[in-house]
Assembly symmetry: C2
Homo-oligomer: 162 residues x 2
DNA sequence: GCGGAATGTCAACGCTGCTGACATAAACTG
DNA sequence: CAGTTTATGTCAGCAGCGTTGACATTCCGC
C-alpha cells in the first residue's frame, strides 16, 4: 500500500485507490478531449500530429521549426513530415529567415486558419461544457493539478504561452 | 470572441483565452502523465498499448478480450497483436472460457504483476506528487472537470471501475 | 577561408491504430 | 437436429507518426 494512505484523514485523497482513480480519469478524459478534433482531422486525411502543428503555428505565427520542436517534443524528422504535407496542401507557409537563412518561419494561410478555427472550436466547445458543468472552483483545481503533473521544462513552456 | 466571454464576471473562466489555456494544459500534462511509464516500457521493448492492456487486465482479472475492447476503444485486431506478445513473453495468461468456449479469459502472471506494479508505481508517484502539491480541493476540481470532459459511454465505464 | 555547430530535409524502420478475410463456437430457426 | 446467422478471436496487410541515420545548407569562431 502507498505510504501516503490513511495517515489521519486529511490525506484520504492520496490513497492508492484515489490515485488509481485519478490515473484512469486522465486516460478516459484524454480520449474525450481528442475525440472531436480527431473526427474532423479524419475528414481531411490528417492526424493528431497535424493538429498540434497547426495549433502552435497559429499560437506563435512566424515561429521556426526548431521552436516548434521544443514545444511538441518530437524529433525534427517527425515534425518535418507533417509540415511538408501541410505546406503542400497550402495550409502552412514556410519562409526562409532573413536574419538567419537556415531558419524557416512558419505561418498559417487563410485555409490553415480556417481549419485551425474548426478544430479549436470543436475542442473548446467540449472544454467549455466541461468547465461550465464543473464550475470555476473546479476549473482552478483542474489547472493546478495539471500544472503540478507537467515536467519542469514543459511547465516553463506552458507558462511561456500565457 | 466566444459567446461565453465577459458576461458579467462569474463566467470569466469561460473566456476563449481560459479555454485555450485549459487545452494546452491538458496537452502538456498528458505528456508528463505518460513520460515515466513510457521510459520503463521502452526498456522492455513495449509501448503504451501494452501498458493499457496490462493495467486493465490487472484491474479486472479474468476479463475477456471483448470486455477489454470496450474499455480501450481500439479494434480487436489491434489489441490482439499486443496481447499476443504479452502472452508469448509470459506476462499474460489466456484461458479458454468454460461457459462460452469462444471467450478468452485474461490474467497477469507473476511477471506480469511485477511489471504492472513497476509501471503503476511510477505513474502513481507523479500523480501523488501533483495531488499533494495541489491539495485536496484542487484534486476534487480536477476530477470533476475530467469527468465532465469524458464521452458519456466512457464516463459510464469509468464509474463502473470505481 | 576553414572546421564545427545549428538548422532543416530525405530515407528507412517500428509501434499501434485501422480494414479485410477467416476459423471456431454459440445461438437461432425451420 | 441440420443449416444459417451471430459472436468471438486470430492472421495479414496498410497508414499515421514516432524513432535513428545520413546528409545539405548556413552560420559562426578561429
Amino acid at each position: 500500500m502507498g505510504e501516503g494512505a490513511m495517515r489521519g484523514d486529511s490525506l484520504l485523497f492520496l490513497t492508492d485507490a484515489q490515485l488509481r482513480r485519478g490515473i484512469e480519469a486522465m486516460f478516459f478524459a484524454y480520449r474525450g478531449f481528442t475525440a472531436d478534433p480527431d473526427r474532423i482531422l479524419g475528414q481531411y486525411g490528417y492526424g493528431r500530429a497535424h493538429h498540434r502543428a497547426i495549433h502552435f503555428v497559429n499560437r506563435w505565427p512566424g515561429t521556426t521549426v526548431n521552436n516548434l520542436l521544443a514545444i511538441l517534443g518530437v524529433t525534427k524528422q517527425s515534425l518535418n513530415r507533417v509540415l511538408r504535407t501541410l505546406i503542400a496542401d497550402g495550409l502552412v507557409e514556410s519562409h526562409v529567415g532573413s536574419r538567419d537563412r537556415r531558419e524557416r518561419h512558419l505561418h498559417l494561410t487563410e485555409a490553415g486558419r480556417a481549419l485551425e478555427a474548426e478544430l479549436s472550436e470543436a475542442q473548446a466547445a467540449r472544454m467549455r461544457d466541461a468547465f461550465r458543468r464543473a464550475g470555476p472552483e473546479a476549473v482552478t483545481g483542474f489547472r493546478e493539478v495539471l500544472e503540478a503533473m507537467m515536467d519542469e521544462d514543459l511547465k516553463r513552456l506552458f507558462e511561456g504561452t500565457a
